[in-house]
Symmetry: C2
């Protein structure tokens, strides 16, 4: 239930002996009480008198199923937690464990409330080192129900004592017991109501996408809303994939959505990055660079990637963080954040770029030997995405320092540093293939051998990362995920319409989308270049990544960035929304099947509602001060009255692009 | 003793109690009895009557000293061998052990013969699982000696039974006991005499280099002469460095020397490669390539490199093997080898190049994303060394197939394959920087940022591989070892004199020689471009690599390729010897300090002696049929009469090149 924020299940089960029970469960992870989850579980006798026992457990160090060789799946430890303390009393039990190597301490506690007809039930509790179990039993007449309400509290710490952690978790459990089930459920709904008010997207004409986009927004919200200056991992908290690590996709796909819909959550995520700045400074020093080098994959700030060509060398994560900070400030005008969080992030990452690059004899500023978003290329010169994002980073740093000169001095910003940042930014190399009249993903890229896509299709070799060696993949034209095309989204003002159209035509047949971080971006650029049906297909793929388990690994956890990306595909794709230069603009247009698209965004404290139909778009200020917007090439102020405009239908100048054989958008959607 | 092939030591030792003994030892690893080593050990009482006990042991699984973090040092296992069998009787003991994981079985046996004045000694034997000990004791009057002659036999097998291996080693021991010490020593000298007859180099005017080059040749010979279709490892059998693995330097630095001086040993080394062809075919398939891909580092044919950007991606090892096979055939005209060994090697590696490269729109054949000899660059496009060596490989394959059409059919050589090889070879890309008028080590190389050599010198950061991250090293202009310069040696006919002079001028200031595989090549090109004093310096560095422990790691084993390289530096450098296109040519010239250089080489079954003095060179046919040679630009036939010519002094067209600060040639030689 995406409105209530609970998961409900009903099942009727017939035992081998022919007895029938109906089981209803409702469960939630609370967004208001941060350490609490709860489940209400009801068993009903259907036809005949039935004896029922409900067992409620806390279990750790369970045997895990054998893991696969897929590197994206989490590494699994045997019995990773060492039991440290156990206690039980009444229907309540508490376990404390420690991790073996890092000595992190975690505690889990449960409280179980059984309700039986006439209060007639017996219960007992057993507590062992690795598990605790409360059991309740009763006899039901047909139509009678036996109910368990179970509250669970979790806590962990790398520093606090056993006693402190035990008491914290026990206290949280006591609080939720006092609050009670009904209040917990209604608080959950109230929190989520508030989110949907500024975030809901309506899609008419495609119910599947409608549902999937809401599913995606719900999970984006759920992964972020209570992260509170901790990382938002690639899988949120939905599964063990990628070992719980956070990557660049938090800043590049999740934060743009949160910035427009739940800005406080975006701020929190960036404050987490800011809190790891000292580790990033140490990392830059270890790399013999300057400033800060944020990790490619991490839980708390240290680099956790063991394969540097597609990890550390992907320095673009630093520009992605800087870009997210610039975007957040553009959207919120949050001056405290600008000064205290954005400026240090921007200054230290700008220093990194100056140290990592050099001015060549050709007068351009070059970033050599780095890895862009496309993980099927590595250690290339002048990756356009990296270079243009670094350019934004450098210019953003120069600007923020100009706004806060006194505080900049505390970061030891030398008098000549901003000028050096501007000089590098303005001279940034952007390789272009004159012969093919197309931008190069990286220097020389378009001159490399084209991958044998037909052979890969025939050999059923996708994803290539599991079936082909990097020594072959890296040196050929084969693209895992949008790279130049991603640059054309976030740095779209650096390209002409013709550049984009030709790039889409050139790169689509090379892009295999072995990453979930691609379809949404391809949707955005397909829409911008007038290929609306293709954009619709890509939108569906991004939105259904997990509901349809398109990559066959949803069991490892949800693809949070792809789910957030479905919002991007809709709003930036068919809404044509851009925020280049801190100016919010729209070029709405709809694909054939879509009869209406509605979405709300929060811009500088105001809520703007956009409603698009095939021929018309209506902008409405839902609350807050008047805002300046662009529609197409026209700037207007949105105040009390809704503003009506014609949609901005784009005529494509290239034929509908083809994908590699077998790599067409994955969803039969219409 | 480089003539006798034994190590002699004499030491006088005074005990804390003031007793003085003189110890003489002579030891050898036999070149005639392949599994035998022996030591004669004599203790003499010097001033006073002395009681002496000699303990002679076989020991395994000893505690090893803590190893360093240097990746070039061997990994160390604790107690790697599992005892399987022990036996002792008389003064003879035998141990059999097995390795834990690979189950290789090895056996060692010793026989001890004590000789005391008047035969008056007592001896005993003890045998345990991991050691055996024979002890002999006697009382000596001043001037009397107590002597031990110890023979040790080794054997190993991955297949034979315990009994078979035990008997083999025991048999070898019985044979050498029958042969006796004196015969073993004289056989050793006879074998080495024969080697020196065709290999000795005389250097007048530089006694240090004279000694060091002989030391180098001796160890090259010793590493190779009884390898007998096993790999010649980077350290020979002199130490645990690089885990006993063989690399490309066997073919590129050791085999050119052996081909010219001990051709049968070169043939054996290539037969070893040939014996691993099936594994190389499997590897090519795993890499989704065709033909054969030989391993970067190996003991018996499997790829043992865990870091592919500087391992598998260095595909040039395949061209190096092909080149060594072509060279061996050019020098020996060994038709059986050409047909049975060279052809399969050349055909399968040619197939690899065709699969690894592609014809670009520019009409050139490109090899993208590979790693050349310089390990401070990786995954670059069109590495000139790789491309030109691949070119030789492709042309060589086309030629050998033409010589043996019937046998080629058995390798399934299709009718159009040789034409495809020639087409690729003729179109091979060789990137050139028009602005700087110099060849590029790889495409774009000369446009990258230049390394901050001054900072590295100040920080004492050499070798960089232990002090700087690859993400920084790979993307800048900093060269570990000769790469383009190596191409200019082995593929010198593909460059003009001006090309070479400008390349030396450009690349010398970028080359830090953190590899021992560089100084000898730099010597060759420095000499060719007229920088004779610099060539002399590099020669000295290559020759003294281990005698002066220039890289501070001779304890891990000798740098066999650098030692062989000192011969190359002399003969190809000051002798100006080249074998381009199967034509043997010379351009001799000497540096100031050298008054005479003499060397012998074996060319097509004949032995040619070359004697160079400052103004004159004399070619003499020592044995065999007349041969055709080139001196400078003149071709002549060398038959009965010595041929006298003027030396070929080259005038440099560029100033003496400078090295990075602190990376000048390491040896104060004059």
């Amino acid at each position: 239930d995406l409105r209530a924020g609970v998961l409900r299940r009903v099942v009727e089960w017939e035992s081998p002996a022919g007895q029938v029970v109906r089981v209803r469960s409702t469960r939630l992870v609370s967004l208001t009480q941060r350490s609490i989850m709860a489940i209400r579980y009801e068993v009903e006798a259907v036809h005949a008198p039935t004896r029922v026992v409900i067992q409620s457990e806390l279990v750790t160090n369970e045997d895990l199923p054998t893991t696969s060789k897929d590197p994206r799946v989490a590494a699994a430890l045997e019995a990773p937690l060492v039991p440290e303390y156990q206690h039980g009393s009444g229907n309540r039990a508490l376990l404390v464990h420690q991790t073996k190597a890092s000595q992190l301490r975690m505690s889990a506690a449960m409280d179980n409330e059984f309700v039986a007809p006439n209060g007639d039930f017996g219960s007992q509790l057993e507590v062992q080192q690795d598990w605790a179990r409360a059991s309740g039993g009763t006899a039901l007449e047909p139509g009678q129900r036996f109910q368990l309400t179970k509250f669970v509290a979790y806590g962990w710490s790398s520093m606090r004592s056993l006693a402190a952690l035990r008491d914290q978790v026990d206290g949280a459990l006591s609080m939720v017991v006092r609050t009670g089930w009904d209040q917990l459920v209604s608080d959950q709904r109230a929190t989520i109501d508030e989110f949907w008010q500024g975030a809901d997207v309506t899609v008419e004409g495609d119910d599947t996408v409608q549902q999937a986009v809401r599913f995606g927004l719900f999970h984006t919200m759920q992964a972020a809303l209570r992260a509170e200056q901790r990382a938002i991992p690639a899988k949120g908290l939905t599964g063990p994939g990628y070992d719980g690590h956070a990557f660049w996709d938090t800043e590049s796909f999740v934060l743009p959505v949160l910035t427009a819909t739940a800005p406080q959550a975006a701020a929190d995520a960036l404050k987490w990055r800011h809190s790891t700045l000292d580790l990033a400074r140490e990392r830059a020093e270890a790399l013999t660079l300057h400033g800060a080098a944020f990790p490619w994959r991490t839980i708390r700030g240290q680099e956790c990637s063991g394969y540097w060509p597609a990890g550390t060398a992907a320095l673009h994560v630093n520009a992605d963080i800087a870009d997210a900070a610039i975007r957040y400030v553009d959207w919120t005008a949050d001056h405290d954040f600008d000064r205290d969080i954005a400026m240090p992030l921007l200054v230290e990452t700008a220093r990194l770029w100056v140290a990592a690059g050099h001015h060549g004899d050709d007068g351009a500023f070059h970033l050599d030997g780095l890895t862009g978003p496309d993980e099927y290329s590595a250690l290339a010169d002048d990756n356009v995405y990296t270079n243009l994002m670094a350019r934004r980073n450098l210019l953003g740093a120069a600007e923020v320092v100009g706004r806060w000169p006194r505080e900049a001095a505390r970061l030891d910003v030398a008098a000549d540093e901003p000028a050096a940042w501007r000089t590098a930014a303005e001279a940034m190399a952007v390789p272009y293939d004159e012969r093919r009249q197309v931008h190069q993903q990286s220097r020389n890229f378009t001159e490399h051998q084209v991958w044998d896509f037909a052979a890969s299709a025939e050999a059923n070799a996708y994803p290539l990362l599991l079936n082909a060696p990097y020594v072959d993949i890296y040196r050929k034209q084969v693209i895992k995920q949008a790279d130049l095309i991603l640059a054309m989204h976030w740095c779209g003002d650096q390209f002409t319409f013709d550049d984009k159209a030709r790039a889409v035509a050139y790169y689509e047949p090379l892009t295999v989308r072995d990453s979930s971080l691609s379809a949404c971006t391809q949707a955005v650029l397909a829409a911008e270049t007038g290929h609306l049906e293709l954009a619709h297909d890509y939108l569906a793929e991004a939105a259904l990544m997990d509901l349809s388990d398109l990559e066959h690994n949803t069991r490892d956890g949800l693809h949070i960035a792809s789910l957030a990306g479905s919002w991007i595909a809709l709003v930036a794709g068919f809404g044509g929304m851009r925020d280049h230069g801190g100016q919010l603009s729209f070029r709405p247009q709809l694909p054939t099947a879509m009869t209406r698209l509605g979405f709300a965004i929060r811009w500088r404290g105001s809520t703007v509602q956009v409603a698009v139909t095939p021929d018309e778009v209506v902008y409405t200020l839902r609350d807050g001060d008047p805002v300046e917007l662009r529609h197409g090439d026209e700037t207007f102020t949105l105040a009390g009255e809704p503003v009506h405009r014609q949609t901005c239908r784009v005529e494509p100048i290239t034929p509908t692009p083809q994908q590699p054989p077998g790599r067409e958008p994955a969803v039969p959607r219409r």
